[in-house]
Symmetry: C2
Subunit: 299 residues, 2 copies
Amino acid sequence: MSLLVIGTLAYDSVETPYERRSDALGGSATYFAAAASAFGPLDLVGIVGRDFKPEHLEFFARRGVDTTGLEVAHGATFRWSGRYEADWNTRHTLATHLNVLQDFDPKIPERGRKAEYLFLANGEPRVQHKALDQVERPRFVMADTMNLWIDIAKEPLLHLLRRVDAIVLNEEEARMLTGEKSLLRAAGAVLGLGPRFVILKKGEHGAFLLSKDVHFSIPAYPVENVVDPTGAGDSFAGGFMGYLASQGKHDAATLRRAMLFGTVTASFCVEGFSVEGLSSRSRTDVDLRYDELLSIVTV
Amino acid sequence: MSLLVIGTLAYDSVETPYERRSDALGGSATYFAAAASAFGPLDLVGIVGRDFKPEHLEFFARRGVDTTGLEVAHGATFRWSGRYEADWNTRHTLATHLNVLQDFDPKIPERGRKAEYLFLANGEPRVQHKALDQVERPRFVMADTMNLWIDIAKEPLLHLLRRVDAIVLNEEEARMLTGEKSLLRAAGAVLGLGPRFVILKKGEHGAFLLSKDVHFSIPAYPVENVVDPTGAGDSFAGGFMGYLASQGKHDAATLRRAMLFGTVTASFCVEGFSVEGLSSRSRTDVDLRYDELLSIVTV
């Protein structure tokens, strides 16, 4: 398969009502790659500092993630810390240290430039544009973003929306971006901004996909024991894009199945801290849970 | 079909962020009957006061709802008033006047006693027991309840759970009843209390059905313009039980389809104040939206 992700790599410090972890491997590109790699090899472009641990490079290698495009810069790796409330839906960001991320100027290696499937993980829209500029003829480009960029970089973000096939947003972002309170109307309004597909993530309440022709809605996989929700959205995107890239197509039926695969990888993600819930998941593990999820949603 | 509902009839005063209505027809049995009647005739047992308007009796007659078992007592009809926040999920009860409901002693007429499908709508568990005692050989009994009864009548409610086939609860009720925070675990714990089936209603986030053998989850129908959420749960139950009764069976496949029909009738309900969203809906209207919902959830 031909899949490229560009995004952040981070060391996260996370507090949940039950546990805490410091400097655990995180970042949007990391979670995406951990999930997508269950479907086949992919390329990762990002930036880390000199403090990035060899064991984490080995983790990517073991998962078939090519890190040729991972720049190791002077300085420290991006750091994020946050705390979750007991309902898991309320997250407080305690600190963000951009470190090397401040000067990220993505350079996509040869193979990545020829990628057919491209995920622009959450990051500065200016950087997402720079990455997109370098990929020659992508067949399907999906982008993610966050409230920060809607606030401080709305123009380049709106421009990006006109250059991608799909955008993945959570409820709050969709409302912020469009001013529409109804999620369905917000999703419709996002389509009017350019992308052919919008995916709205609703966390424990599932996700839906909207295009001119397709409307597909799916509940979340019922995880019994949530450990850490960090990275669930990127893991969803990883399962979604990993499946599309593994199939080499993105027709309506394939997109619907991809929504299930994304739901599955997101459910693995939240069952562990950092990438622990994903790190040893094979395609077989994914397929087993896919079948279970399919039985739960099939009328 | 052979379907009986026992529950409340009320005059509701409702404030939403956009509008308000006073003394509009409401109550658990009312909403249930308004929804279920799209599938065929049914019997209703309840109590109202002398102030109950003839036009509302005519409404039931027009929908094929037999009100032989509706007692008209001295005094005023049960009144409820509440206010919704802009997110629709927060509801403040402003006032409750039980009026004639205080002395409700249900007497089920001849045909109702032979009902095959029975819905014990939200009401005092003692009254639900009395009604159940009078139905001779029901094939499928579903009950609803609310946080108040979990608080002040837990023993008779727990006893009721051992006498019914299915219980329908919202998230808060399931957590209150079981002490489990995870919805799936809470639903599992409810099964341990007696019923073979538990339906968990999650409002705008859909619903799921759990039994020893069946786990089915469905998102809500995407309503673009919510007018008044009052009665959505009872309308869900009405579509669910109406479909089962119209089919005369409740095997796993029928139950899954019933979850969709309940979702459809609940969506009609919230599109209007009182029973306005349901009052003129035919089986054809229901089937059209069912097909649309099916296309939204089919992988």
